[in-house]
């Protein structure tokens, strides 16, 4: 195969990289910077924040629970397609899903026993 066949790909790579560099540079050079006090505060859906989150620290348990939430939450993404196709999959789908949930359950037991769910010490 001749190298000419790769020319469009080369152009695409150059163009998209150039666009990305250009937009990031342009944004940092051209955009006006007038910071007001309101802009500096955290956005909490229009409500004035009660705490200054830049200086105040969340307890580390907060991050731990948030991470555990993300990981267990995203697993449910597999439950939706199964629920939609439940009628067609019949017993086979049920057994497969039970195996999947058993694995999740093992992880849950581990987190529980390890004290990941205890808020207070």
């Amino acid at each position: 195969m001749t190298l000419g066949a790769y020319l469009p790909i080369l152009f695409l790579v150059i163009l998209s990289t150039a666009f990305a560099v250009l937009s990031i540079v342009a944004a940092s050079k051209l955009s006006p910077r007038n910071w007001t006090a309101a802009k500096r505060t955290a956005y909490e859906s229009g409500i004035v924040p009660e705490h200054d989150i830049e200086r105040e620290r969340f307890p580390v348990k907060f991050y731990l629970v948030a991470m555990l939430f993300i990981i267990f939450d995203i697993e449910t993404v597999f439950l939706y397609p199964w629920a939609v196709a439940f009628e067609d999959l019949k017993l086979f789908g049920l057994i497969e899903m039970l195996a999947f949930i058993a694995i999740l359950l093992a992880a849950y037991v581990y987190v529980w026993r390890r004290g990941g769910l205890e808020w207070a010490e």
């Binding site: 195969m1 066949a5 790769y6 196709a85 999959l89 086979f92 037991v109 581990y110 026993r113």
Partner: protein, 493 residues
Amino acid sequence: MPFVPPEIRLAGIAPEMALVVSAFVVLIAGTFARSRVNRVYLPALATIGFGASIYFAVSVWGENELQLSDMIALDGFATFCKISLAVFGLLTVWLGSDYLTRDGIEEPEFYGLVLLAVAGMMLMASAADLIVIFLALETFSIALYVLVGYRRRSIEGQESAMKYFLLGAFSSSFFLLGIALAYGAVGSTNLYGNSENPGLAQFLSESASEATGVLVLATGFLVVGLGFKIAAVPFHMWTPDAYQGAPSPITGFMAAGSKLAGFAALLRLFDASLFALRWEWRPLLIGIAVATMIAGSVLAVVQEDIKRMLAYSSIAHAGFVLTGVIATNDRGISGSLFYLATYGIAVLGGFAVVSILGGKDEHRVRLVDYKGAFYEHPALAGALTLFLLSLAGVPVTSGFVGKLVVFGAAIEAGYSWVVVIGMLTSAIAAFFYLRVLVVMYMQEPDESRPPIPVGRAASTVVALTAVATIILGLFWSPLIGAAEDATFFFVGG
């Protein structure tokens, strides 16, 4: 369209399942007992898991088929890799148990994560679909991110974990882009495919060459992702940092296991599935191989930290194995497998000695700390000498035979000039291995240091790997024979 349940045959992934089950048992059982009890029975549980895994892998030797909707290849190649990986994992667990006791950082997670990482690496070797390769790659990578940062209180450990994580996530996005483009070109992510279902190999055998431009681009991105895992230049930046900051048993495990897993996927993908595209990807891999051999060997010379030096040496070794990959002949594949298996044993042994001599919290890992090591610990220094000679490729060690077979395969394929570069860089590499030996034998220890505790499990690992390095250097034919039997990939029919 009525739904037909796929045929479920688990022989192909039984070794992985044994490891995952024992990982869960270890993790949950570990929360029920105190660390004094865990110290004994968690490594024992992990050993049982690896034993079961090896049993399942051996029992399917000689079979050749695709399983689980053509997602898993059950062939000799996968079996050879799985047995080697289980052995690496077993040595890591034994070495780790002494290491954790010495530093007082015993947690059940160590064993659980090593088991899960080996399961991911094994899956890498038998994946017959790009998405399975991706899932396997992420399974062992995520476990390794945590293991690299296992020494939570060490600043080096934290830093290396973060660098490894950021660069690893970056490179796996490129790998994923490669999968997406391959899917766009072929309409499927299967590596093989048949007349009913499309797949990469089947697509290439039928289509005209103009239609494969996107697939070639995809190949480039796949090389980036796998090149990162095998630590090939220019995707090697993480290697010295991660190797230095990780606990030594994990460093050895990464050097042995991560490299074998990455090469397993690379060999299956390029020498089997994308074989028809070899005139497109071979120049790329030759360039990477040459750059890797030169950069790894030259940069290793200036290192003052023994772990960083071994990291650059592992980069150079990735280049040597790549010469077997670009040969694209049976000898290249079996030679690469043999090289990776023997390199893994030698490097695990080397890091076992480094982890013992490092002392508590690994405070003695610089080259100057090895002054006169022979006079303080003759047995350990002797074993380290053997491992370094094997890495340098000196005759009577397994490393010599490994280099002989991969270089022989490359010459057979007509790439003598690559082999010449390989020989020259081997000579440079010999220099920095000898440098360690000079420090150990010819210099006097600075002052009398407190004796270093040597655990029973760790010394067993050193002894086993040392004996294996010698035996494979003298009687290599059984293992080479096994590797040659293992060169059959699944090919349709």
